[in-house]
Symmetry: C3
Subunit: 148 residues, 3 copies
């Protein structure tokens, strides 16, 4: 199954963790050019509570509409489980927490937890996100309404 | 002290981080078979506020009783310090945060912080947890009661 | 630009992540000797809302004054982006969350989020922090006052 050396696999894992780090920073600093550059054109998103977004452009349009204006966001990702199908295809599961605040009032609107299930591909020497599915364990719509 | 190559040590560290990632996901998704498979039979737990649990089976029985029914949990672990005593024995310290919610009401019952001090052993080619001690810096029993 | 092998770079990255882990643990357990040992003498801090601290000694004096007495703190750092300028100089960006509690009352005083922008140098074979800048995305002065 694994077609590449253990050292190459360690390096690929570091590249994928860096990809993830940039994604979380890009969304929270609203660096949409960076955000777009991390995703393959044919990236598919399927996040609980939302319809499928079948391309990277549709995804980023929706993310910007949801989080771009009047919202301050925090996306933190934890303890990855990255496995390789080949030297150019990988899967990852990350624990996650997100917070969405109204920027003007500072009110916490949404506080969520769950797991990102993702796929990555190395295309032309560069690792990119090819799919993302967010499986929630808990979403709190504040104040204090739980939608587990 | 370290009896194995730097590359082997990097690979062992990745295996231990993967073990930890699976543990946090197993408890929060209530995948008790996975949870059990990550721990050596003779695993010892000593978490602040609880008596020692001298085997993995006793530990998991207690964890299921505390968190398995009617509770939604979040366990996030951060910035590991992993050191090797030999090629088959390691220690780790992880920053941690946990949240325990009542699933039905969504009420936050406990919000805690601290450090996991753990040991790991490679037995028959597989890294397993052999002990875990949770040292708390803060536990908030909600609402707003602090037990530092 | 990178003057050392990919394996050496992986090892250096692990050393820097360990440095960061020790820093977060040192501040939250108030282990000031450990904290000081992680920083170069000429370490420069520039955290939003504070003046520049031009040496490690000035920095630690301020950190102790702010957090050392009567405060329980949590500093968690996430998904590093570490890049090397040479085999002895590196930069890092980390997502971060911090909480500052009044120890006696348990009251949450400050809850913040942002990104640490740091530099590191290997001096005499040991990686040290040489600068730290905290760029905030959000600071909540509790209860419920937002200073984004």
């Amino acid at each position: 199954m694994i077609e590449f050396s253990v050292l190459d696999q360690l390096l690929a894992k570091e590249e994928i963790k860096l990809l993830k780090a940039r994604r979380d920073r890009a969304v929270d600093t609203k660096d949409w050019d960076l955000y777009r550059s991390l995703h393959a054109d044919d990236h598919v998103s399927h996040n609980q509570g939302f319809e499928r977004w079948e391309t990277a452009d549709i995804m980023i349009e929706n993310v910007k509409a949801l989080l771009g204006e009047n919202r301050t966001t925090v996306h933190h990702s934890h303890t990855p489980e990255i496995t390789f199908e080949s030297s150019t295809k990988a899967k990852g599961i990350w624990g996650m927490e997100d917070l969405i605040f109204d920027t003007a009032s500072g009110e916490l609107l949404i506080h969520g937890f769950g797991f990102y299930h993702e796929t990555y591909e190395n295309r032309d020497g560069k690792w990119l996100f090819t799919s993302r599915q967010l499986k929630r364990t808990l979403v709190r719509e504040c104040p204090e309404t739980n939608k587990a």
